[in-house]
């Protein structure tokens, strides 16, 4: 009896505390308690194209320095912790604005309205990417018709051409499986601007929640076509093949000269002026070492 009563009282007390803490507004977040002076980590999120690049750079950065005072003598001796998560450019933009993330990753051009949100902060371009019109290596189109006009690409993605045969008579009579990013992806906006120009994407297109998964789908399915980051095509030369658009293939020269037009910048955003930690990491991203990773992953590094 005695024990039961005490247990019951304890439960009541816990319940009461739980309710009170609910009223107390902002409860401290898990990461904050370890280091009371500075925030203990940098949180970065957004574009699923950029996440692997930035995560790799963050890894190198943490490996190389381990604690902040080794990066810069004036900094305290604290462990470097950088979180990188994905979710799409739209999510990155939104989270950078509302402060969910310290830095947002966005892989698309910002319009003026979006830029206006960052006048007090910073927008840093770490590189560029183009969208390759990618198909599976087993697709006979690579031998028959490796070059599409922009109009044809548009017709395929709009669903006007339903089978490969309708695109070219010598191709098999199989449904074209269109793979696109959902509305949250930066790529969907870039593709709309440079190819679709307002024509809606076919309602039959598979919406895939990340660029990595989109590339995976095209690798798996012989009838699939999708716009895939050039980086991912470069990383998987045997599993993904790019088609030329208007006679221009997405080679490095054509991208750099600006002839291949379905391109987009890779941007890091911060709402306010980056603090010292964030600035140090951004500097590293923009340094030779950071840009080397951008290049190794198959993207075009920003020129300094």
């Amino acid at each position: 009896m005695k024990v039961k009563t005490w247990v019951a009282l304890l439960l009541v007390a816990m319940l009461g505390l739980f309710m009170l803490s609910g009223c107390g507004g902002e409860s401290p977040k898990a990461g904050d308690e370890a280091q009371p002076v500075e925030k203990a980590s940098i949180k970065i999120g957004g574009s699923s194209t950029m996440a692997p690049i930035v995560a790799k750079v963050a890894d190198n950065f943490t490996e190389e320095f381990k604690t902040w005072n080794k990066v810069d003598k004036s900094m305290p001796e604290e462990e470097i912790v950088i979180f990188v998560s994905t979710g799409g450019s739209g999510f990155g933009l939104k989270s950078a604005i509302d402060g969910t993330f310290d830095l947002g990753m966005v892989s698309k051009d910002l319009n003026d309205e979006e830029k206006a949100q960052f006048t007090a902060g910073s927008i840093v371009q770490i590189g560029s990417d183009v969208l390759d019109i990618a198909v599976n290596p087993n697709n006979p189109i690579l031998n028959v018709k490796p070059d599409l006009t922009r109009e044809e690409v548009k017709k395929v993605f709009a669903g006007t051409l339903k089978t490969w045969k309708e695109l070219d008579a010598s191709l098999p009579d199989r449904t074209i499986v269109i793979c696109v990013r959902d509305l949250g992806g930066g790529a969907s906006e870039v593709f709309d601007k440079s190819v679709m120009k307002g024509t809606p994407i076919s309602p039959e297109a598979l919406q895939i929640p990340s660029m990595g998964a989109l590339a995976g789908k095209v690798m798996d399915n012989a009838d699939a076509i999708g716009y895939v980051s050039s980086g991912l095509v470069n990383q998987n030369p045997d599993k993904l093949k790019a088609l030329s658009v208007d006679g221009i293939s997405p080679t490095l020269e054509n991208i750099l000269s600006g002839q291949y037009k379905i391109g987009r910048p890779l941007l890091m955003l911060s709402k306010e002026k980056p603090d010292t930690q964030e600035q140090l990491f951004m500097d590293y991203l923009k340094s030779e070492k950071g840009l080397k990773v951008v290049e190794e992953m198959g993207y075009i590094p920003a020129t300094k």
């Binding site: 009896m1 005695k2 009563t5 019951a8 009282l9 439960l11 009541v12 319940l15 009461g16 309710m19 979710g87 799409g88 450019s89 739209g90 999510f91 933009l93 939104k94 199989r174 449904t175 499986v177 959902d182 509305l183 949250g184 992806g185 307002g198 809606p200 309602p203 039959e204 297109a205 598979l206 919406q207 895939i208 929640p209 798996d220 399915n221 009838d223 699939a224």
Partner: protein, 299 residues
């Protein structure tokens, strides 16, 4: 230490008060969620008519002239969830009868914990397995253009809801008083006959309740259907076509929708519709269980 009677009664009162408060708070929470969803989506209900939102088949939230219609998503949701019940119900009822009546004691003792563990597997794991195994299998062996389909989603959902159907049906079979079994066996009927003609009619309502509970869970499942249903905006024409169930739509687009836009409000409206469907199903369960109680007391 002694605890005086008076102390105890104070403690008891405290407990009762605390429990009552928490019950009331949880009741309000549901109402608050409903009100919040309604408020966030109000623009949709007032600008676009309720009917055209529910029956429209065009979902172009970021076009110059936004079009919001979720008929295709509602159909996909119901199709995926209903389909999973179609697969899971016979299997689940069969397993429940086996566990309750025919399984040797040791086998049931092994199977029950296994079922409980199955309910604890995160849905993203199911979705991942489905995407890695089922989707590829369908593509290679059925000559489908894409392996993602409402059927693939239903199949994985069926596995996810099976444990719920089995354990709930089993407990309603077990709740049939022993006298009925004894009376049946005393009359010399076979065991299968007794199950078929005595136990199932008596436990039927409870088993139906288990089914409806599982349906509620299947409707709200997000991760597995997001990975398997294909997420196309077309109205599903068959079980084997792709579709985008409501939870998948919300999960895909809410991250990027700007608060205050019609897109954002449209997603909240879609969530509100999903919530209403699930609540309607819960009310159905309640009504069924109420009926069941009356039925049993009549005997």
């Amino acid at each position: 230490m002694f605890i005086k009677t008076r102390d105890k009664s104070i403690a008891e009162k405290l407990i009762v008060a605390a429990l009552t408060t928490s019950a009331i708070i949880f009741g309000f929470m549901l109402i608050a969620i409903l009100l919040f969803m309604l408020q966030e989506s109000w623009a949709v209900w007032s600008e676009i008519s309720v009917w055209s939102f529910l029956s429209g088949t065009d979902w172009r939230p970021v076009a110059a002239v936004p079009q919001l219609g979720i008929a295709a998503m509602i159909a996909s949701t119901l199709w995926v969830a209903g389909g999973s019940l179609l697969i899971a119900a016979p299997l689940g009822f069969g397993s429940a009868v086996f566990l309750a009546e025919f399984a040797p004691f040791w086998l049931a003792a092994v199977l029950r914990p296994v079922l409980n563990i199955l309910t604890g597997i995160p849905s993203v794991v199911y979705g991942f397995l489905g995407a890695a195994v089922l989707v590829r299998y369908f593509e290679s062996s059925f000559d489908l253009a894409t392996g993602e389909s409402l059927f693939a989603a239903s199949l994985v959902l069926a596995i996810m809801i099976l444990p719920y159907i089995i354990s709930n049906s089993e407990s309603s079979l077990r709740s049939v008083p022993l006298e009925y079994r004894h009376a049946g066996l005393a009359l010399g009927v076979s065991r299968p006959y007794m199950v078929w003609r005595i136990l199932l009619p008596l436990a039927g309502k409870g088993m139906l309740g288990a089914l409806v509970l599982a349906l509620g869970r299947a409707l709200g499942e997000t991760m597995a259907v997001l990975m398997l249903a294909g997420n196309i905006l077309l109205f599903p024409s068959s079980w084997f076509s792709q579709g985008e169930p409501l939870p998948a739509l919300i999960a895909l687009e809410l991250g990027s929708a700007t608060p205050g836009t019609l897109h954002y409000q449209g997603l909240f409206a879609a969530g509100f519709v999903l919530l209403l469907i699930v609540i309607a199903i819960n009310i159905l369960i309640h009504a069924l269980q109420h009926k069941l109680k009356n039925e049993v007391s009549r005997f």
